[in-house]
Amino acid sequence: VKPWRRCGSVHAGGNPSSVARRVRRLLIRGGCACAALAPLALAAPQLADARQFCYSDRYKGYAPYEVCNQGNPHAITYVQMTGLQSGDYVCAAKATGGSTSSPLDGSWACGVGQGRHYYNGEYPRYAVNQHRGGSLAGVGDFFYNY
C-alpha cells in the first residue's frame, strides 16, 4: 500500500470559535492550499493534522475507497457524503486497526444519494469512504470534532 495525499475535502467541524470556524471554512473553500497552510498550521494544528491523514486505497478487490484520520488522535464524529448526485451509491465504514492493509472494522453502510455517517466521537480511529461507482470522484467530506 502506498498512500498518496488527497486533500481538499477534509473539514474540521465541532464547536470551535466562530473565528476559527470561519478560518477553517475559508481554508476548505480555498481547496487544498497545502503549501499555504504551513504557516497557518501553527495556529490551527488540529486542522493540519486532520488534513494529512487521507489517502485512497484498495483492499481485497473492493472499489477504490478513501481512508481518513489514521494517525490523527482526534476522533471523527461524522463523515459527510455531499457533493454527490441523487443516484450515486456511496458507502462508509469504520476502522480501528493500525494497518492500512486491513482497514475495515465492521460492515460498509451504503446509501443512494447524499448523507452522513455518524460516529459516537470516540470511535473509530479512522473512517473509510467508498463510491461504489468505482471512482472516488465527489465521494465526500470528512468532518471532525475535537
Binding site: G8, I28, R29, P73, S86, G98, S99, N120, R132
Partner: protein, 217 residues
Amino acid sequence: MRFHRIRAPLFVLAGAAVTATVGALVAGATENPQPDPDARALRTPAQRVNEVAAEQKASFEVFRRARTSDDALPSFVVKTMSNAADQLHGENAALSRRAHIPGKRIWLSVGEDTICRFQAVSVSDVDETCQPTSGALAGRLVGWQDGGSIPQGEAAVSGVVPDGVSSVAVSYADGRTQQVSVVDNVYAFTATGSPTIRFTDSQGGEHSVGPLPVLPG
C-alpha cells in the same frame, strides 16, 4: 461551490504508535489545484426545519403519528445534528420517527424538502441517507450494509416508500424474486446478491431502484 481535488505527494511524519504501519510518509507540498471534472456543487447548509411539511405528512404516515421517546435517534447523532453549523439538509432530530421493524433500528426524519433515513450500524455508528421528498416518493431513499460480519454476497437492505405501498418486490439478475412487507413506510430484508426493488404507488406509478451494488460473494 465547487471543490477541488489536489493529488500531491506529501511528507508526513506519522505519529509513532498509531501510524507504525503507515510509516513515515513523505511530504512534499506541490500545489496543483486541478478542478475535478466530477466534482459537484456542495449544497449550502439549509436552515433546520421545525415541522414536518404538509406534503411529507400527507405521503408518509409515519410522520402523522404522535412522536414518542421511542422515536429518538441515538444521542450522539442528535448532538451532531443539533449543531446549527452542521446542518446539511436542515434535518431536525426532534422530528424523527422510528420504523418499528423487529430487530432493526431505523428512523426517518425530515429536512428542507428532504427525507432522511437513519440506520444504526452498531451502537457507535449510524448511517444517514437523504433524498429530496420527490426522490423518497419514488423509492430512491434506500441503503444497505454489507461486508464485515455480514456473509459475503449478502446485504441488509432497507428503504422508504410512501403511503399506499404495503410491500415491495425484490428481484435478482438470476430470476429470483421475493416480496417484502412495509412497516411504517419502511421495508427491510436480507439481500442475497444485488437486488432491484420495485413497487407501485397508490396512483399506479411504477418505481424501481437498483440493482444495488452489493459486494459480491
